[in-house]
Amino acid sequence: MSFAPADRLVVARGVRVRFDPVRNCNVLLAPERVLFPCPTSVEILGRLAEPRAFGELVEGLAAEFDAPVEEIARDVEELLADLVAQRVVRVERGVAP
């Protein structure tokens, strides 16, 4: 799955990420599901609490981590595809202004 800069992404309804002091890790809570997301997923999910275009997400991460946009886009795309497949993130194609 690949994403265009104007694809709008948002964390799915009912998904919540929190730190679990008992297991000493982040947990993703969703209806009838508990997942243990990697730190990069947590970073991305935090940025997608409000709807955001894929292009904007990538630019933000590139600025924050001081890395080339193309490289970030490649890495993020793979992770996002997984999050979308798991219905943790919802995508609307090409709707961002």
Binding site: R16, R23, P31, E32, V84, R87
Partner: protein
């Protein structure tokens, strides 16, 4: 039979099923509550439930399933939800949705409710009334579902399916879409308690099961990520048994209306186990050390063919309660497993029941107190 002394169990539970009450406006013949229901006078107080939630969060519980009976019959449900939210527990309301006003739902959402699971007994109004034993149930459920979506809460439709409603499965999918549900749970009846007493009235034929598998497969392919569909098959027709509750005392902790704690909601059928009460023991001790929770953990209790089975840590010999209910032996291989020597006999029984005309339902009711 006593289990040998064992090391306390260190893995925390993921979910806590809180059966807040056994009171319910519906009378579904496949209810998962025990045949012997707990009366209102014996229900835990608000303060006790709040303490249970605190102990649960400290133990590592992440998700709280608020169930019953009908949990909204507890007037303190908002307080319980608010406590769960303060403890960062993910709260899931499991409701029949027939007597819940929009104002009540607003209060629950404001208290921090995360998710609503609504049971729909049938998409046909008369069928819905007949299964739930409640007049005018479907219209109320639909109004409730729309209120859930208006408030922006995520919604799961729970469709328990059996011989009387399986032929309308495609319409359940349509209804979930029309209501804007996020998830649809298609769950074939699991035959415990009331459902076992009604097995002949509910058991589908193999052809009905096969058709339901096809419908779910086609709907998943057609709808993609528009609707998440979870599917639970009737284990009598399965090849391998289900790993009940992900294994005895491994992921789930159940607290009954009176505070009794069980590893699964059917575990009371197993004789000789003493289920501790949250009013008497800390939840941590109950989970980690109580003999009832330790009883079927690990592999030591297993006999053949489970003991040497390659799947012994996948399905843990299947369901202990089912082995008890059907074979009178909680250590036997679950007869839902094709490796059980009793599998063919149990299957033949179920198939004969499914082929015969259905008997009348034995509705789930709180029996009147004997004089």
């Amino acid at each position: 039979m006593t289990a040998p002394a064992r090391e306390p169990w260190r893995e925390p539970p993921i979910g806590l099923l809180a059966e807040l009450t056994h009171r319910c406006p519906l009378a579904c013949p496949y209810c998962s509550n025990p045949l012997e229901l707990t009366r209102r006078e014996r229900e835990l107080s608000t303060a006790s439930w709040e303490r249970v939630l605190e102990e649960a969060a400290e133990l590592g519980v992440l998700q709280l399933h608020l169930s019953g009976g009908e949990p909204t019959l507890r007037g303190d449900l908002e307080a319980i939800v608010a406590r769960a939210r303060a403890l960062e527990l993910y709260s899931n309301l499991i409701t029949a949705g027939v007597g819940v006003s929009e104002r009540r739902l607003e209060a629950l959402a404001a208290a921090g409710l995360d998710h609503v699971q609504l049971s729909v007994q049938d998409v046909d109004p008369a069928g819905c009334d007949r299964i739930g034993g409640f007049q005018g149930s479907l219209a109320r459920k639909l109004a409730f579902a729309r209120a859930v979506r208006r408030l922006g809460l995520p919604l799961t439709l729970n469709a328990v399916v059996h011989r009387h409603n399986l032929d309308r499965l495609e319409r359940f999918v349509e209804l979930a879409l029309e209501l804007g549900a996020d998830r649809l749970e298609v769950a074939h009846v699991q035959y415990y308690g009331w459902a076992l007493a009604n097995r002949a009235a509910l058991m589908p034929t193999r052809a009905q099961l096969d058709r339901s598998v096809e419908i779910v497969k086609a709907a998943r392919a057609r709808l993609g990520d528009r609707l998440l569909i979870d599917f639970v098959v009737p284990d009598y027709y399965a090849t391998h048994p289900k790993p009940c509750a992900s294994g005895w005392g491994r992921a789930v902790i159940v607290v009954g209306p009176d505070g009794r704690v069980l590893p699964c909601h059917a575990a009371h059928v197993i004789p000789g186990l003493v289920f501790p009460n949250v009013e008497e023991k800390p939840l941590r001790w109950i989970w980690q050390e109580s003999p009832a929770f330790q009883r079927f953990r690990g592999l030591d209790w297993m006999r053949e063919p489970c003991r040497s089975c390659a799947r012994r840590e996948i399905d843990f010999g299947g369901c202990r309660c089912q082995a008890m209910q059907l074979l009178g032996d909680p250590e036997a291989t679950d007869p839902a497993c094709t490796l059980s020597p009793e599998h063919a006999r149990i299957m033949a029984l179920a198939e004969a029941e499914a082929a015969a005309p259905p008997p009348a339902f034995r509705y789930r009711r709180l029996e009147p107190v004997p004089a």
